[in-house]
Symmetry: C2
């Protein structure tokens, strides 16, 4: 399809459209990489702190954190969902924590397939110490970010999370 070389012809418009699409792709990719980079940095620091201060790991801390808010205990499958992790994975982490006496598996009285995992008293105590430190670390890591910006990030990331969740049903 030949185009005239008239001023303000379709040529610039076409280029603009293509440029816009290309830019948007670029923006999405760069945004993803930046998101990943930030998360990795923070996660890495939290891991190191957990290791050096408490000789434990992030997934163990995460599992205990889930249990701390569920005094009645959680099923393995519930832990799996909340930790966004495979069931087989939960088995291993729970094994380790149980071996150290921080957690117990109790059989469910109504369904013998189910384990209710609970924090022991010792686990509770230990988690509280870790949680206090953990909160301090996170607050420090985000310390230089103005509250207004934090809220903006919360909002935008909330939207993103919604969008992502919506992709399943669609």
């Amino acid at each position: 399809m030949p185009r005239e070389k008239t001023a303000l012809s379709a040529v610039p418009a076409t280029i603009d459209a293509e440029t816009r699409v290309h830019d948007d792709h670029h923006v999405s990719l760069r945004l993803w990489l930046r998101l990943l980079s930030c998360t990795n940095q923070i996660e890495s620091r939290v891991r190191q702190n957990l290791q050096s201060s408490f000789d434990t790991t992030l997934p163990r801390f995460d599992l205990m954190a889930q249990l701390e808010r569920a005094p009645q205990g959680l099923k393995m499958s519930e832990l799996s969902q909340r930790m966004m992790v495979t069931g087989g994975n939960v088995t291993g982490i729970t094994d380790g924590l149980e071996k150290e006496g921080l957690v117990v598996r109790e059989v469910d009285s109504t369904d013998r397939r189910v384990y209710r995992v609970k924090l022991t008293a010792e686990g509770e105590r230990q988690f509280r110490r870790m949680a206090a430190e953990h909160e301090r670390w996170v607050v420090d890591l985000f310390g230089a970010v103005p509250t207004k910006h934090k809220k903006q990030l919360m909002d935008r990331l909330g939207e993103l999370k919604e969008h992502l969740a919506g992709l399943d049903g669609a």
Copy 2:
């Protein structure tokens, strides 16, 4: 230091300050969890896509992506830095890719301790196919996010990244 019980005394102010601090802690923690959740969701989808479409993994893709922009090859240590990952880890991933002929280790002529890792022609070809799909996935995942919000996220995350990098020198 005793305080008078006068109306509008320091008591409410103190409570406000504590409340503000507490809220800010809460905001930082929630922000961190939300950031982690978003990243995990996206990362998980990209992993699954790489697995089902190309029978490969994210770290392999990541390593090849680094090499694609460095025709002269990269040292193991450079790969380690850019992938934000341990040296020992790079060794394993490179081993796998080399075994499949997607990557080669060439000895550096000036320093025999160094390997220069490069994409093979086959690796190049395969990476380009994957990169095109990968970009599509990411664009789709962020598709519902308005460009304006994407740019806002870029800005805020950029600041966060700066802050985090600054914590080292301080």
